[in-house]
Amino acid sequence: MSDSHDHSSAGHVLSLKMLAGTFVALLLLTALTVATGKMDLHGFDLGVAMIIATIKATIVALIFMHLKWDRPFNGYIFLVAILFVGMFLAYVVVDTNTYQNDIKGWTKENISNSTAE
């Protein structure tokens, strides 16, 4: 455990300037996402909003949550969580899109059947 001091976040104190700066940056990014949310970005609205949210989340994780100075393993746990959410999301969205036409066809058929009766 001789090198543990290099990685342990125990004892690392963040300066007040950095904490306040982080807070102001997060507020500015919130204002930016509200402003871009009201604009018409021709289909890129969701992408822009998600990029800004990801930047905000990264700032919170690295500075407020100390990951920048923490043991790297804690950061890996966080990244693994994000990775699994991504896999979950990707498989479900691909799966549901594959069968969407069948579902829509079925619903229309059903509705026309029930009105015919």
């Binding site: 609205d45 919170v60 509705i111």
Partner: protein, 240 residues
């Protein structure tokens, strides 16, 4: 380490305080991982439904107040700032400042819940609820909509002319909205209890610059609640 002079702050199965701190923090991060995956089910429900019905989301988000959502974002960011500052204060042994900062964090969390309550009660009165809720105006069959929301609600005139299937799907949007913000709100309430407990322990003198694991892990939980809101706000309130 001599066991005769065992440090009361150190559990028996750890070599030193630093090892204990790292183990506690590791455990906290694993807990946060389970929290992220816990929420991910609802985020995936959101993504699936939005990718199949983008028009429903576009229509439904007009019923959400962007300004209240933005204010709540700022309130949560402020509380995250004071929580992070509380960790700094406890590291520096500023006991009274820790109590004050945790107190501000609790006040911000209460403010967040107060705004949430205003939003929820407005939606309840207008019948902007999931489709099978008694007061919902998003029922496929207009005859099923309660007369109270038809007569007193401000949105019925608009909603009643929608395609019945579209109206039913808008009800599903509100189901997703209430599940996501509701689960997040429960986490905020738990955070309030957690912060009050930390305040009490701090005033009792449980923490010192050598031993402050609970404050650090409590702040980590609070930041995660903030992180989730950072994504919820644009996903629900900013659909244009």
């Amino acid at each position: 380490m001599s066991s005769d002079h065992h440090d009361s702050k150190l559990a028996h199965h750890f070599d030193d305080l630093e090892q204990q701190f790292d183990a506690n923090k590791f455990g906290m991060w694993v807990f946060l991982l389970t929290e992220i995956l816990f929420f991910s089910g609802l985020f995936v429900a959101y993504a699936t439904y939005r990718s199949n019905h983008p028009d429903v989301f576009q229509y439904a988000s007009q019923f959400l107040d962007t300004n209240l959502g933005a204010v709540n974002t700022a309130v949560l960011l402020l509380s995250s700032f004071t929580a992070a500052w509380a960790v700094r204060a406890v590291q520096l042994g500023q006991k009274n400042l820790v109590t004050t900062l945790l107190g501000i964090t609790v006040l911000c969390a209460c403010g967040f819940m107060a705004i949430k309550y205003m939003e929820y009660s407005h939606k309840y009165h207008e019948g902007l609820l999931w489709g099978n809720a008694e007061h919902s105006i998003f029922k496929e069959n207009t005859a099923d909509v309660a007369s109270s929301v038809r007569e007193h609600g401000h949105h019925w005139g608009d909603v009643k002319d929608l395609d019945p299937e579209f109206r039913r799907q808008t009800g599903i949007f509100f189901g997703i909205y209430f599940c996501l913000t509701g689960l997040h709100g429960i986490h905020v309430l738990l955070g309030i209890i957690l912060m009050l407990w930390l305040m009490r322990r701090n005033m009792r003198g449980d923490f010192s610059p050598e031993k402050y694991d609970a404050v650090d892990c409590g702040a980590l939980y609070w930041h995660l609640v903030d992180l989730i809101w950072i994504f919820l706000f644009p996903l629900l309130y900013l659909i244009s």
